[in-house]
Symmetry: C2
Subunit: 335 residues, 2 copies
């Protein structure tokens, strides 16, 4: 009898909101590692707004198609290696898809050093932490005393962005949805101010929270929040464009924010997109610095771990609705 491989397939491509019926749970045969490949047991699946963006069309990867295993990054353990440089028990990060087992070419897999707890490999030492680190420090380039604003501030990346900006001596304002999240940003993560965008009057709240204007805006959301921040930017300000989560779950927006390019010209702003792979050379140095801050108690690591592969679709839908605080992931149990 072969061991079955449970997997979540993408049943259809959403044209508006993502819903549970866009996914289906299936059982496939246990995959086999060919020469040059690794057989992987998936331990922790990363949930990201990018999962939804991949359904909208080609981004930095090609668009997802209905019928395929839902794509997604994960921490996995090597069960069997038919590739040089990998051994049974090694930990890797790879786009394994949402399933229990996968066989992948070694070239599509990144070995990661084991760290405890394992969940940190998807949060502070994973894409979230490194994206915050490079996006803020290399793209946003804050100086001590600058005002840094971050949207989706309670999310996996935003929670690190704000804390790293505090470590660098900045005034930090987080934008998040709901009074509870805002209180958490201030009380738990040490933000100087937090704005509940659902409370309305974002522009007035920004003026109050950032009276000296904004020097660095770390944009995770796009849309109206980006527009409001553009109007409060200081001369020479930097906008790190990390994502546009406000625009992933629905039809693509018909317009961009007012003030582009007028305010970019008159205020000499820089808006810059980036992805992590642009900074591969500095990865180890960044991990060392992040680990130093975590060990010194300067950087808290909020995580939101959900058990069970079958709960992955609901976990993503909830993430897009802003349920999570910190890095959301699914622990694949029973394998």
């Amino acid at each position: 009898m072969t061991t079955p491989n449970r997997q979540i397939q993408l049943a259809g491509i959403p044209t508006d909101k993502l819903r549970p019926e866009h996914f289906s749970l299936a059982q496939a045969a246990m995959p086999q590692a060919a020469e040059g490949e690794l057989l992987l047991r998936i331990r922790l699946i990363s949930l990201d707004a990018a999962n939804r963006a991949w359904m909208q069309g080609a981004t930095y990867r090609s668009a997802l198609q209905a019928g395929q295993v839902m794509a997604g990054g994960a921490i996995a353990e090597v069960m069997e290696s038919k590739a040089a440089g990998f051994a049974q028990g090694d930990l890797v990060f790879a786009d394994t898809g949402w399933q229990e087992y996968a066989a992948l070419p070694a070239a599509r897999v990144q070995k990661v050093a084991r760290r405890e707890p394992l969940t940190h490999l998807l949060s502070v030492y994973g894409v979230a932490g490194l994206t915050a680190y490079f996006g803020l420090l290399r793209v946003g380039r804050p100086k001590a005393g600058d005002t840094v604003v971050v949207s989706a501030a309670a999310g996996s990346v935003g929670a690190f962005v704000g804390q790293i900006a505090k470590i660098k001596g900045c005034r930090v304002v987080g934008i998040a949805g709901g009074a509870d999240k805002c209180a958490w940003l201030k009380d738990e993560l040490g933000f100087d101010a937090a704005i509940d965008y659902k409370a309305g009057n974002l522009s007035g709240a920004l003026k109050e929270a950032a009276p000296a204007g904004i020097d660095v805006y770390f944009d995770n959301v796009g849309g109206d929040i980006l527009e409001a921040c553009l109007f409060r930017m200081n001369q020479g300000g930097r906008i790190a464009c990390c994502g546009a989560v406000s625009q992933y779950d629905g039809a693509p927006p018909r317009h961009g924010p007012r003030g582009v390019p007028g305010l970019i010209v008159t205020k000499r702003l820089t808006m810059q997109g980036f992805i992590l792979y642009d900074f591969a050379d500095e990865r180890q140095q960044a991990l060392d610095e992040l680990e130093g801050w975590v060990r010194a108690g300067k950087l808290k690591v909020p995580e939101d771990v959900i058990d069970g592969l079958e709960n992955t679709p609901a976990a993503l839908i909830g993430l897009l609705a802003g349920e999570n605080r910190g890095k959301r992931m699914v622990r694949v149990t029973g394998v």
Copy 2:
């Protein structure tokens, strides 16, 4: 009897298109230079889309008010100096306003070396040439073989941007209004391709003219043309935001271009605003290099000189409608 000083005043602030009745011709008393000031005779008035932008609100300078002398940069000659470092006969560039004479503090005046023809001090050796030079080379950062697209390509800045990009070994595509201008860009200035945006199907024309995508877009216009270029940018592309002339002459636009910030994220684009003063340290080196290209016959200097202070309003209105090829200026005669 005192010599009168003819001047063009801003009679009203336009809320839509700029029209002749927004200006009035007046006669004022001859100004007097106080201690620390210079009495200037104005020779050549620069006409720029920025003149119109200043009427819309505060930019990098405060907004213009009805009743004041219309603001504008000019090349002027020192008639009398009450300031150290300036002597009668010196040439300066200053925001003198649209008039025959002005008395200004020396701190608000920039001495310029005399070069012939004098008109070159407003074109290739003035704001237009230097803006093209720094915006393209420092913000756009093209490499040989890159595809560079420039809008308002037959305008004062665009005509230099395209030629400098050719000197640097790029494929150059100009966007301009009308078949005549497009032919002129190719035949006279050596552009590889030119697109008449008034002919429609800009997106298709861009695809044809820039089959390998756009690496650098030098944006003088904003609006629909910026949007079309955003969708054709290559990974890691740079957009130098120099102006938004499509948006100056009318009410401020209600929306920005689609694709912001989505395409900025997925293509890792950089959009950057700049003004000349950011590069003051490199000014002399830039002038030397521009002069070398002009003398070697590599850089043509298109100019559009109109005689008579009284024609300045019509000259600006015409510039906003796209009448000019190359740098438009008014020669102040009879003084």
